[in-house]
Symmetry: C2
Subunit: 253 residues, 2 copies
DNA sequence: GATAAACGCTGACGCAGCGTCAACCGCAAG
DNA sequence: CTTGCGGTTGACGCTGCGTCAGCGTTTATC
């Protein structure tokens, strides 16, 4: 019994293209190519194809299947064990993905359930938590527990509109800083505006402003790498230094 | 703060090629292309890229990520839930693959532990089991329990060499059948050889040959679709019929 | 014996998400 | 002035085929 591509394809439940492809990559050669160039397969090829399909079912790549079938000394057991291990890895990977996707879905659900004001409260709490983990200890040492708690309390009290204004002030501060640094003088008129903008920004969260505290904070901007990086990343190199000098000059007026 | 491809690539832990590709498919445009044609990114793009990478971590395809990020009314939750479902499907699929791979490994282990003669015994048992499930009932009805058991027992007693001979006889039978069918006469000399080859083949497993039983079996070859298909698949259409006629003629000599 | 339908063949492109050349340009340092 | 390190745009390669297009063969029908 012999088969053409179509017949074999139907028999084995694969496409004709697949058979031509397997021929092309040397995975399954027809028994014969007849005078018209047709591929002719026999029972032997049917058996081989069944084996190929079996291993393909296990999701092995065609190159490995080729080795398994045509290399007599190829270690099938080892190949299958390696394949099993890679499947286990994949399984683990998917398990992890599922965990993360699930978390993301829940996060969305929680957000959907919240009103706008609840979301804003959540947002502020995130900011406070972020600030606490980054600087909590240092600022408590410098300003004392009460001052920090009072500042957090004031921040919690901000309306959304007030928060937007605070952001806008900071943005203006950044822009001024950039242009003032071109001039280069931390005692000039632009530098004065900078210090005032910074004070304005501070007062959104500081219950009581004092020049001494302001000067102290300015010092920290230079000494603490994290504060320094915040300004330099948002503006440019030397921004923290320039801001400190401007504030120092302002507080001594 | 602005970044070139290299900088952003390092910052985000992706390759430069990836950034160019994301630009190409419209997933992440640089903030600006400068006079030299360089891609320039800002903090905004850093944020966007982080989001993209987050969703990519979840294994979402880039097209879906694009929708999630740039279509304001796109249903993220639905997308994630669909993604979760597809992950669950994949997980199930891998679980199945693992089961099959595990079985295959065990099959190999069992085979390795067997000696050649044990393997051959196992092979014969497989054949008997196959035969029993396919034809067990019918042949017991026709020939009786004892005859079938005796036949199986004789088959179990075959050496590997004998089995090979039996296969060779069947092969010669097939070839004769093919050429005899060209001539077309089931009473001719070639047909006689066919019937004798078939008898020779039978006697490997039949404890006692009789012309009546032989004729009966020949009838079954035509009436039972499965026997018929066996010959027609191995030879050609009409093979079962021709074989029966040849045997009938032979048993009446 | 002609014709149409059904089959066969060989390229070649497309898919996802980049990796990896090749060929070329811009800019600063030695 | 070269060298080296950036940047750029193509274009091919990988996997396992699906899907044309264009052309020859076989088979069924009239």
């Amino acid at each position: 019994m012999t088969y053409t591509v179509q017949k074999l394809a139907e028999l084995a439940g694969v496409s004709k293209r697949t058979l031509r492809y397997y021929n092309q990559i040397g995975l399954l050669h027809p028994a014969e190519i007849n005078a018209s160039g047709y591929r002719i397969y026999t029972e032997k090829e049917v058996d081989l194809l069944q084996q190929i399909l079996f291993f393909r079912e296990l999701d092995l790549d065609l190159d490995t299947i080729k080795s398994i079938i045509y290399s007599p000394d190829f270690d099938r057991k080892k190949a299958l064990e390696e394949h099993r291990d890679s499947l286990l890895d994949k399984q683990e990977h998917i398990r992890m993905l599922l965990g993360n996707v699930e978390k993301s879905i829940q996060a969305i659900e929680r957000k959907v359930e919240m009103t706008d004001s609840e979301k804003f409260i959540g947002f502020k709490e995130e900011k406070i938590a972020e600030n606490e983990t980054n600087y909590g200890e240092e600022i408590r040492e410098v300003y004392g527990k009460e001052a920090v708690e009072a500042s957090n309390a004031k921040f919690r009290g901000l309306t959304e509109e007030q928060y937007r204004k605070m952001e806008a002030v900071e943005q203006r501060l950044f822009e001024k800083l950039k242009s003032a640094m071109q001039a280069g003088d931390p005692t000039g008129p632009e530098a004065l505006q900078i210090a005032e903008l910074h004070r304005e920004w501070l007062e959104f969260t500081w219950p009581a402003y004092s020049k001494e505290a302001h000067a102290g904070l300015a010092d920290m901007y230079v000494q603490d790498e994290r504060f320094k990086a915040y300004y330099e990343n948002n503006i440019q190199e030397g921004a923290a230094q320039f801001l400190r000098d401007s504030i120092q000059h302002y507080t001594k007026l």
